[in-house]
Symmetry: C2
Subunit: 675 residues, 2 copies
């Protein structure tokens, strides 16, 4: 192995593809003339299109050979997703070696055990453009009176669409409800009361149809029916009223003196070298997947690996509404791409001024790699409270304490209306924290009869609909190597005789420890009694004879998970479990997939299958899948934006008998005062 | 009423007594020659002693008359606790008016509905001194060989005592197990294996007895029995080994460059005037009770009162052990005094350098008021993440965000081994957060047969025993006046017909709201299913027609509360409930009492009685009693000190339809960027 401070070259095994590598892979694929891949970034559904190029992470055993045992560097390869509009299939390829590819292997069957239905693909920019054209031609142009009278649409004033998912009720469906909003910044909280159901299942857009409309609380079978009834006055009309843009984020107040600012008065105490960060006793590699988002690998404390992988997996929301656009809405963001929307971070608001900012490159739904400037920030932050301290005025007078200065690794992904803020935080006491906060705009619906069963009114005619936020994380802890066990600890009152008192019994707390043997025992369902302490442990012991472990402490305010009887639940079965432990498999990389959103009924990845075989998890390479989140009942204060305060979740990975004493005993930030 | 920014004079109605006022009250009491009160700060139990002088908070209705309705200033009065060793009673007096008292009224009967048993008093410094003398004379001097051979006691090397509670098994008992520790800084994690049970129930210390001893895992009936058996070699001997002080908090590492530091580059944005703090839209009065600790009153946002009182009430721990000193241990810290131990805060560790530090004065277990320098700190802190933000690159390109700069109001109380850090945090979005973190030394026991059922070994021969932390807070929200209701909101899946699909049904989340009518309905037991959203609401509505409310969001990791069948449970019955709502009464000021610890079997305050009468809570002045905390299974990393990371609890008070939109829309910290 190699210790802290060693050059970060080996971390490149985890690094995202470079701009050059993306281009090389794309060019290689384009050169395969038999694949007939369009070069148009707005390729239409009938064409063949490279939707995604991303790093193919090498198999773990190969990486460990390389990092720990002098093995050779695993070949660098890309994963490429092609939508074959000409044939109606999706294929996934391994393309390599980089940077000069010489082969492409179709791994679709191997990876998914079958074909990928073409309509399980996300909607591309090319398809969106067609949808916009379709809407204008087939809806807007036929409803101009209604649009003007109801929504003030005229001249260059228009409406903006927001789509909901899933797109139908069974595999292959591609019927999307699109709701319309005022053409304002923050459109998401300006619903106007018009929603349309478009069937775009065909890859030939001339076959698309308007299947249903919803206007002012009523359904219509066709644009013509709506238009006719509207003009006949046979209808509840919405009457346009001009309105200030309450969604505007423009300051209403002049800046006062600035608030407190943090400075590295003696320079930063961390280094970013390629994709490796070193900070005091910590070091880790990092990357940003276009689909799943932020991730770190090979996380070491004092040179010892603790975490092989810590990564965001999925962000899911289930909505309730009386309006059709939102009635069945269930968003699975990794199908759109979570990391894809990691945009530039703003100094002084998103991260401190003095943070280090890192650019990322991605190739998703495009025809050329894109650079996202300052899309990751890394900074040391004074948490504003002591990490630990004790003041003594009994017998011995003294004070000892350590400031709680932490390293924060952050990205923020703005997926349409919502902004999720992702933090991995590294503490001097050997803990790592993953946190997610939600901010940005809520999704809203136009107020109609029955709306109040699903939320509160939050603005003029606008309902903030009740919804859940469930977030999936993957945590591959390796506690002193890959062979670990899963332990639980908790308390239990047991009655004992009090030895020095006659005939006196008392209930006193006992420590109760259990080792869980199988995946199904270790699948800890939300809503069941879960032991309070959960540990990934080694059979190696610390100085005091205890199994060295890291504890998982989950902070969660989730609502109820969708009942398992619902046909779409399979696509989000990871959310059943607060924590589930599986035996590591290279084939079980993610709890969700690119294809889950658009084929929820037969998802390419159903997490619950990982534990269906109920493997033994004793002295195995264990992976923890953690679900956190919160129930969101929007309220007036969600306007204009949901605040991060109280709207999030996360978990701590804490050493528990991993060390022989608190490692912050060696912190350079210790202070001691004697009288 | 008076608005934000108005002079803080009226806040003095909540201010702690001044040094001068304490002295005046003491002198007045001392002048009452018939009371025969000792002037000795180490008065013995047989004497009469002023244990406590503290502010008597005026009745709420009088304060509201004064603050809101031009009523006259309530008279300023003190609450005085006298231990009458000569008569064997405790009396509580109201003494006033301040600063020149002319009367003292015994309110004991009125307040407690009966006498206070003299042995329900906490142990005073005077009694401790007698106990130390007793131990030396009756134990140490008779065991010098054992002490030297087992513990290295000789010359000026000695052992230090740590006592456990409760002191016996029934009302009137005063039998205390005292465990001995090495005479090191951080003694609490250096148990030596000797514990003694001293009966000090008599106010005449010549009647005190050693009732039991515990040495090396075995019980002895008398010092003589232990001494005889030890000398006969008829015993498992502990053999002294010198040991480094692993409890030392002295830095082992040279300071590196300093970590990030926060500065008010343009000066602080808050003002502390007497006991009132003003910060942007916030203002509040504050105080520090010797018994219950930190508290704020009359908390206003934009001049509108939201909280009448937010205060710490109690910190309780229940331990498990095979050793007698800790087997039955249940600590109720407000009986010792939580605020009493709010010591000086260290700049740069306990609070930022630039914080404002406030002195406090107290009169508890003393003969003259004491000044505690810099025992409260107040600072603005950049939380290091946005309060809210949105990045838009769909249709409209723009960015809007607000830095999350908050005001922190803090004290840290070191009660023997533990240090509790108390924070009240004020957000620009109208939220207030209360947080408590534990740090300092764990309580530990010497390792003997059976120890491992109750914890882990954390150091040489040292067990960190399993224990609970339960913290009680009082929150008297007044949402647009005192007449409020208690609402719950949550989600529920209900099956509906999907209007646009034939014969298709789907389960979708509905908003479920309930108004709870009585105290017992609103006593939300831990371990039961509790609605996710809890609201103190007004019947006044916001612009959108919703009841204006503040939501209580509790962060808690508590262990199991002591079974109600245990006789001592009455003294901590507040811990049954995560949240309990009562109708405000001036007679129900605190969830615990000074006398709870030393008379757990018949406590002066049993919180569960507040709700026994099951009063109606509709349109009443409501008080929320919140319990938070965490289960602590100590591990090696608790040495030398428990870290604050993950070891705490708290709650948020969040506006929920209280405003018409997020009030941070007016923050001076807003940033907006357009392309
Ligand atoms: Ca499996
Ligand atoms: Ca593992
Ligand atoms: Ca009552
Ligand atoms: Ca109230
Ligand atoms: Cu939300
Ligand atoms: Cu503890």
């Amino acid at each position: 192995g190699w210790g802290w401070g060693a050059p970060g070259r080996r971390s490149l095994v985890f690094s995202d593809l470079t701009e050059h590598e993306y281009t090389q892979v794309r060019n290689y694929m384009w050169r395969q003339s038999n694949l007939k891949i369009s070069h148009n970034k707005f390729a239409v559904p009938a064409e063949n299109f490279i939707f995604l190029i991303d790093l193919l992470l090498p198999n773990k055993s190969d990486v460990l050979q390389y990092l720990d045992a002098g093995g050779k560097e695993p070949p660098r390869q890309a994963s490429v997703v092609v939508f074959y509009g000409t044939q109606g299939v999706i294929k996934e390829y391994v393309v390599g070696p980089l940077p000069e590819p010489t082969f492409h292997t179709d791994v679709t069957q191997k990876k998914y055990g079958g074909d990928l239905h073409i309509n399980s693909r996300p909607v591309t920019m090319g398809e969106y453009l067609l949808l916009f054209v379709f809407i204008h031609k087939n809806i807007f142009s036929k409803l101009s009176i209604l649009l003007e009278e109801s929504f003030g649409v005229s001249g260059n004033k228009t409406l903006k669409p927001f789509e909901s998912m899933p797109r139908g009720a069974r595999s292959g469906d591609r019927h999307t409800w699109i709701s319309f909003f005022r053409d304002y910044s923050g459109m998401y909280i300006h619903p106007v009361g018009l929603e349309v159901l478009i069937n775009h299942a065909s890859r030939n857009d001339s076959q698309w149809t308007v299947d249903k409309l919803f206007y002012s609380g009523h359904y219509y079978d066709s644009v013509e029916e709506l238009s006719k009834k509207y003009e006949a006055g046979d209808i509840d009309k919405i009457v346009y009223k001009p309105m200030l843009n309450y969604a505007s984020l423009k300051p209403r107040t002049k800046a006062l003196q600035v608030g407190p600012q943090q400075y590295y008065t003696q320079g930063p105490r961390f280094i970013v070298e390629n994709n490796r960060v070193s900070y005091l006793d910590w070091s880790f590699a990092f990357g940003l997947s276009s689909l799943t988002g932020m991730r770190v690998f090979d996380v070491r404390f004092k040179g010892q690996r603790i975490i092989y992988e810590l990564s965001v997996q999925e962000a899911m929301s289930v909505y309730g509404s009386v309006t059709p656009g939102m009635m069945l809405t269930k968003f699975l963001d990794s199908s759109i791409g979570i990391g894809r929307f990691a945009h530039e971070l703003v100094r002084g608001v998103d991260c401190p001024y003095a943070a280090e900012y890192v650019d990322t490159f991605r190739y998703i739904d495009t025809s050329a790699p894109q650079r996202f400037r300052n899309s990751i920030c890394i900074f040391e932050h004074d948490a504003g409270r002591p990490l630990r301290r004790h003041f003594s005025d009994f017998f011995h007078n003294s004070y000892g304490g350590v400031a709680n200065s932490v390293l924060v690794f952050r990205s923020i992904t703005s997926i349409g209306n919502y902004d999720y803020m992702w933090d991995f935080i590294f503490y001097q006491s050997g803990s790592v924290e993953a946190k997610v906060h939600a901010t940005g705009f809520i999704s809203s619906s136009f107020k109609v009869a029955g709306s109040m069963l699903f939320g509160h009114q939050v603005a003029e005619n606008t309902i903030g609909n009740i919804h859940t936020h469930f977030i999936s994380f993957k945590v591959d802890l390796d506690v002193l190597g890959v062979n670990n066990i899963f332990l639980t600890k908790d308390m239990e009152y047991k009655e004992v005789e009090v030895p020095w008192l006659q005939k006196t019994r008392a209930k006193i707390p006992h420590l109760v420890e259990r080792q869980l043997a199988t995946e199904q025992q270790a699948a800890l369902h939300y809503g069941t009694k879960i032991p309070r302490y959960l540990h990934i442990a080694s059979n190696q012991t610390n100085r005091w004879g205890h199994q060295r472990s890291y504890r998982l402490q989950v902070f969660s305010f989730t609502g109820d998970h969708l009942p398992e009887s619902e046909p779409v639940e399979k696509s989000m079965s990871w959310a059943r479990y607060k924590v589930a432990i599986t035996k590591h498999k290279d084939e079980e990389r993610t709890s969700s997939s690119l294809y889950s959103q658009n084929n929820m009924w037969s998802p390419a990845v159903d997490f619950s299958r990982f534990i269906e075989d109920n493997e033994n998890i004793e002295n195995q390479d264990l992976v923890a899948w953690i679900t956190t989140g919160f129930l969101h009942i929007p309220h007036a204060e969600d306007i204009p934006n949901t605040v991060t305060v109280g709207n999030g979740g996360g978990f701590l990975l804490r050493p528990h008998n991993y060390f022989d004493e608190d490692p912050s005993i060696n912190s350079p930030d210790s202070v001691y005062i004697s009288p």
